[in-house]
């Protein structure tokens, strides 16, 4: 669908023990031009990931016996292949734990196939983009130049405090990815401040006030309830 004709298809490894979900994901992903391999067990999944390079791993966490988080931690010891975890609706703790353990994104079950595909595309794109040295980033009206520490909105410079800028920079460097409260607090305010959610609430409100087109209807900084925040990539918004 979105794949250039002359490139080999992207490969996705699905780790899920439900045969039905395996089949459905395979059908949906193959219909969209992905090459799919399937593992029904955590260990088997790790082995499959080691055998061949994949562009993305979809890992189901909602298994009573296999601890998906352990699989994730194992993977993160030796590979940076992006991982999208499938979690249950009220599994906020699980979502946070997987993001803190190195997951790239999560999709809540029962998932919408279109949403899963969009997340998959965005995750793979982010991973392939890797660490670019491009200092200039654009998000709709917003322009952030990390080299000269300049922030512009609609061509007008925006004045940010030092902390506001550090927070914004972290979001820009991880655009499109959910950052957990803990991750942000640790990076921006330092170790030992992980519990100070109030800082985050106040500063997110300030960034929205200064940078969003309509602070009452924020589009750039989206709240992921109970988990964290995400800086929306405008390409994703347009899609």
């Amino acid at each position: 669908m979105n794949m250039p004709e002359n490139q080999p298809p992207l490969s996705v490894l699905v780790i899920d023990d439900e045969a039905q979900i395996q089949r459905l994901l395979t059908v949906a992903l193959e219909a969209n031009g992905y090459k799919v391999s399937v593992a029904g067990e955590g260990r088997q999944g790790v082995a499959a990931a080691a055998q061949r390079r994949h562009d993305c791993i979809i890992l189901d966490l909602g298994l009573p016996d296999i601890n998906g988080i352990e699989v994730l931690k194992n993977l993160r010891e030796w590979t940076q292949t992006p991982v999208i975890v499938l979690t249950v609706h009220d599994g906020e703790a699980e979502k946070v734990e997987s993001l803190d353990s190195g997951a790239d994104d999560y999709v809540t079950k029962p998932f919408n196939t279109a949403e899963l595909l969009a997340r998959l595309r965005a995750t793979v794109r982010r991973a392939n983009r890797g660490q670019t040295n491009e200092p200039l980033h654009r998000f709709g009206d917003l322009e952030v130049d990390l080299a000269s520490r300049r922030v512009m909105r609609k061509g007008q410079p925006v004045k940010l405090t030092a902390t506001e800028y550090v927070l914004l920079r972290m979001f820009v460097q991880h655009a499109g990815k959910v950052l957990t409260h803990q991750q942000i607090l640790r990076e921006v305010w330092g170790v030992g401040h992980e519990g100070q959610t109030q800082y985050l609430r106040v500063y997110i409100a300030r960034l929205r006030e200064k940078l969003e087109a309509d602070p009452a209807e924020p589009v750039l900084f989206s709240t992921e309830p109970g988990v964290g925040y995400r800086l929306t990539e405008m390409a994703a918004v347009a899609a």
Binding site: A19, T113, V202, G226
Partner: protein
């Protein structure tokens, strides 16, 4: 495990046993095993308690036992007196009381102590068959006797209480763990097929080979499975509330953001109504569980949408009132019958004007999610319409960073 709803859920899910086994990997947690386990583990925990102690639960039996032991020891002592002398008899009595104390409560032990002390004094200490003791040595012995038996009685009672508390705690942990495992398992068994249906319908939807009629049918499948998912979600939430498994995570929340996120999450279900938001810009941060409060607020808004006519509006207001955050959802509908105001939050109460839709758990979940955070939710009527208000403690104020431009 003592929640009726949970029991219903378990019974409900029993026909699903084959589904547990259909997974390629052994889940290690079949329903059958889950149901066997509590019985076995409960039996295991109670094993040390059974036998003697179980038949001694009634206090009068303990006094009878103390008397019987006293009588038996006295008879034995009469027989042994010739060989061991009257002072060693005191030691035999002491032994009997110490052994008794292992099985009976403090009162009965005291009773046994008095009985044996008096018995020793009367039957054995010279002068025999009289209550007076002249010997200082015997007096000392009697005093020591009391102190030792009472101390032992105290110690064993305390030990037993400790052991009981430990066992209770163990049982509680065990049953909580079981309840959680069971709920997770039931949740997984419900959600997997729903996820399969949703995902299959989505995939069909995105292919372009379908006729218009087929597209409509696929949409029906999608909306029905979304609805089924919401019902399952409600049932599971209610079961979690009833079995006390909700652990609120209190954190500073930006209420304006919370309201926004809530409305975004249910926008497909509330488009028929206009929602107006009134939140002062200077509303302080409030310590609450973001996700639980969001779901409670969503249920209140959905409740308003279901019970009022399309095209009418709902109002969400937030303000600080006497140290509480008052987060209210008001509608222009017919309001609530006065006798329903209290009961409306009970499970399966569906208000006077029963309309189809929902299983009658929405408001019960609101109450559960708010009360577990130490808050309250109150229903009232206004003119016209109903107002549901969530109250959360807002006396704390966060320590905020100071920074100048």
């Amino acid at each position: 495990m003592n929640s009726p709803l949970l029991h219903k859920l378990v019974r409900f899910s029993l026909p699903n046993v084959p589904m547990v086994h259909c997974s390629p990997v052994s889940r290690g947690l079949s329903m059958a095993r889950l149901l066997r386990e509590p019985l076995r583990s409960t039996a295991r925990l109670f094993a040390p308690m059974s036998g003697v102690s179980a038949s001694l639960e009634a206090p009068w039996r303990q006094y009878v036992l103390a008397s019987l032991v006293f009588a038996a020891t006295t008879l034995l002592s009469f027989y042994m007196q010739e060989w061991v002398g009257y002072q060693a008899i005191a030691l035999i009595y002491l032994l009997s009381v110490v052994l008794l104390a292992l099985f009976i409560n403090r009162g009965a032990t005291f009773f046994g102590t008095v009985l044996t002390a008096a018995g020793w004094n009367f039957f054995f200490a010279p002068p025999a068959f009289a209550f007076n003791i002249s010997d200082t040595y015997d007096n000392m012995m009697l005093l020591t006797y009391f102190v030792v038996t009472l101390t032992v009685g105290q110690l064993t009672t305390r030990l037993r209480a400790h052991r009981n508390a430990e066992m209770q705690a163990k049982l509680l942990v065990e049953s909580e763990r079981l309840g959680r495992t069971l709920l997770n398992s039931v949740s997984h068994e419900f959600r997997t097929p729903i996820a399969a249906i949703t995902s299959a319908a989505n995939s069909l939807h995105s292919t372009s080979v379908l006729t218009r009629e087929q597209q409509n049918l696929v949409q029906e499948i999608e909306s029905a499975s979304a609805r089924l998912n919401r019902v399952v979600q409600s049932l599971l939430s209610a079961a979690r509330i009833q079995s006390g498994q909700i652990r609120p995570k209190l954190d500073w929340c930006d209420i304006a953001d919370l309201v926004r996120v809530t409305l975004r999450g249910i926008k497909d279900q509330i488009y028929s109504h206009r929602v107006r938001i009134f939140i002062p810009k200077d509303l302080p941060l409030v310590k609450a569980d973001f996700v639980l409060t969001e779901q409670a607020l969503a249920n209140l808004v959905l409740n308003g949408v279901v019970h009022t006519s399309p095209g009418t509006s709902l109002e969400i207001t937030a303000r600080i009132e006497n140290g509480f955050l008052a987060l209210a959802v008001a509608d222009d509908g017919p309001g609530l019958p006065p006798d329903q105001l209290e009961r409306i939050f009970d499970p399966f109460q569906r208000g006077g004007t029963t309309k189809p839709g929902g299983v009658g758990l929405g408001l019960a979940i609101v109450k559960g999610f708010i009360e577990v955070q130490g808050g309250r939710v109150i229903a009232a009527n206004r003119d016209p319409g109903a107002v549901f208000t969530i109250y959360l403690n807002a006396t704390d104020s966060p320590h905020l960073p100071h920074e100048n431009l």
